[in-house]
Subunit: 343 residues, 2 copies
DNA sequence: TTGTAAGCGTTATCAC
DNA sequence: GTGATAACGCTTACAA
């Protein structure tokens, strides 16, 4: 009896040995309950005796499913992204999906390229980090009708399914903390609020919390700067020069906060002795670069779980909410202290 | 003009738009130099205007290549494996291959399962860590005629392509170091040497280096134990009870060395004051658990590069050496000190 | 240099 | 419950 010598067994070989059709073997292997018990056993016996290993590409081509989900992140060096990714990974794994990970080092073109590679590999769904992406990315997603979800971002347009934070609550939280410490003179170095719901809401949260205590943030006490180190320095400088110098400065982002601290250094001011600085921990840069910075931290692991479940639901054809907000948490560190009464 | 509404473009769509055959599009996209410049341009134009993304599964099915290599390692927590993996990754990437990573937590059945998954995914080659593997693994590799290479192991049978260490040189190195410190009374807690070339060679290296200085390791000064913590403790106990108690004990493996140190602790002996302990850093456990342990470290990154190049050569149909030995390096730490003259 | 067409190994849609 | 058989989207001889 001659067999295909030293060639990998295919479905057909299993079928022949089990004396059934390829269709039955396919069913037996993927939907065991759809075949008679006796048949199932024969097939399994045949498959294992031949050392059969399914051909994933053929399977993917025919079924148009790879049971794979792709995630594109800016970087893998970042502990806080790692949390989200790990949770994503775990949740997908439990549902029988494999996570394919790609990073782009904050380069939009590379991001488009790696996303394309992921789609080529046939991912059934995609997780993107952040809200702004290369138009090609959205184009590819759309033409492939690919389920996707944005994380670490809240899409103000409502056009994209996303899992983000409640930035307003975070703003309230940080303001109330500073109020509790005894601060009464505030300033905020905000991100540019135009077309940026996150920045808007953070500012709104701060404003509302202060207003509730009868404190109004005057226009000189709010300065908007781009989320850059330079922005932080410039913003801090502006704020320190304002008429009623603040005892506490809230920065709309950790990058800004780090810049703000640098400016204080440059001006010979001590933090938090001379001025308190707090921030929102967008990038988890704060804890890396200035471990003492009091910030609002975000539920990153939960975000991964949400993202995964969102995708899984869509892959099952279930309805899903488009926008999800998760609660945030204040992390108190030494950078926020009570104001010097004798300042 | 009607197009396939909201469906991903296929090769055929690109071909139609570029007014060429699908074969030409395929060539233009994968072997650009095989088509006329003008044709190439038309095709590229058509492809990008349609936002064409290749279907990886179809491509893999037809070409029987995925440009993917799989690696199966015991664990990913281990810094030293990470070195090998990173080097592997980098080298493969430079050659246009993607590394698919799987771990099994030292469970042979899981190892077989994840390896199977990798093969299902169509890896063009496989990197295995260590020399002993589930028979199913070798069976699948063979029936798929899959290029593979073992790393972190030297296959004594010569049946498997592998990249390993020169364990004999490592043995010589460690012995000479101790001789240089002034030690003259040695013992060795070796691994089981039967059917284990690595253990044999480590012992042989030590023996030869000592013999060169006229020192003979008597049978009471050599004890063989399995590579376990308990083995290390028992071995150390045996060696300390021997007639001529040693000032330096060489352990065949870091697991043994850690066990040996535990035994010293238990007996109230100080390392290295009362006795020097050294080991071979198989698992990089030494530096994790007992940072002061003098060991031989291995060129783990080079191993990854070798493994990758071995596979790449085989995938190109080139001839390759089956067995590769890489040089090792002594890392001196506090656990090895000169013997107390007044011991 | 380009086109034609036969697969690649599955799954899925039908009949039976 | 099971069996034919037509896709799935691409590559690659082989022809032209």
């Amino acid at each position: 009896m001659k067999t295909r010598s030293s060639k990998a067994a295919r479905l057909e070989d299993v079928a022949r040995l089990a004396k059934v059709s390829t269709a039955t073997v396919s069913r037996a292997l993927t939907l065991p309950h759809k075949v008679k018990a006796r048949t199932l056993e024969r097939v399994q016996q045949a498959a294992s005796s031949l050392g059969y290993v399914a051909h994933g590409a053929a399977r993917a081509l025919a079924s148009r499913r790879t049971h794979t989900v792709g995630a594109v992140v800016p970087t893998l060096d970042n502990a806080i992204f790692a949390n989200t990714i790990q949770a994503l990974q775990r949740t997908l794994d439990e549902a029988g999906y494999v996570l394919l990970l790609a990073s782009h080092g904050f380069d939009a073109d590379i991001e488009a390229r790696v996303t394309r590679t992921l789609i080529e590999r046939g991912v059934d769904g995609l997780v993107l980090l952040g809200t702004t992406h290369h138009p090609d990315i959205y184009r590819m997603i759309e033409s492939h009708n690919l389920p996707y979800v944005l994380t670490w971002a809240f899409d103000e347009s409502g056009n994209h399914p996303c899992v983000g934070f409640d930035n307003r609550a975070a703003g309230i939280c940080i303001a109330e903390h500073l109020l509790g410490l005894g601060h009464r003179r505030f300033a905020m170095v905000s991100g540019i609020t135009a077309h940026n719901e996150r920045a808007q809401e953070r500012l709104a949260g701060v404003r509302d919390a202060l207003a509730a205590r009868g404190i109004t943030l005057l226009s000189g006490q709010i300065v908007e700067k781009p989320y850059t180190h330079t922005g932080g320095r410039e913003g801090m400088r502006a704020v320190l020069n304002s008429a009623d110098s603040p005892t506490a400065v809230i920065c709309g982002n950790d990058v800004l906060a780090i810049g703000a601290m640098a400016e204080c250094h440059a001006q010979g001011l001590r933090v938090p002795d001379d001025v308190s600085i707090t921030g929102f921990d967008d990038m988890e840069m704060a804890s890396l670069m200035t471990p003492a910075l009091t910030t609002v931290r975000f539920p990153t692991a939960e975000m991964g779980i949400y993202a995964a479940n969102h995708l899984l639901a869509r892959l099952d054809g279930k309805a899903v909410e488009l926008r999800n907000k998760l609660p945030t948490q204040l992390i108190v560190r030494a950078s926020a202290a009570a104001p010097k009464t004798a300042a």
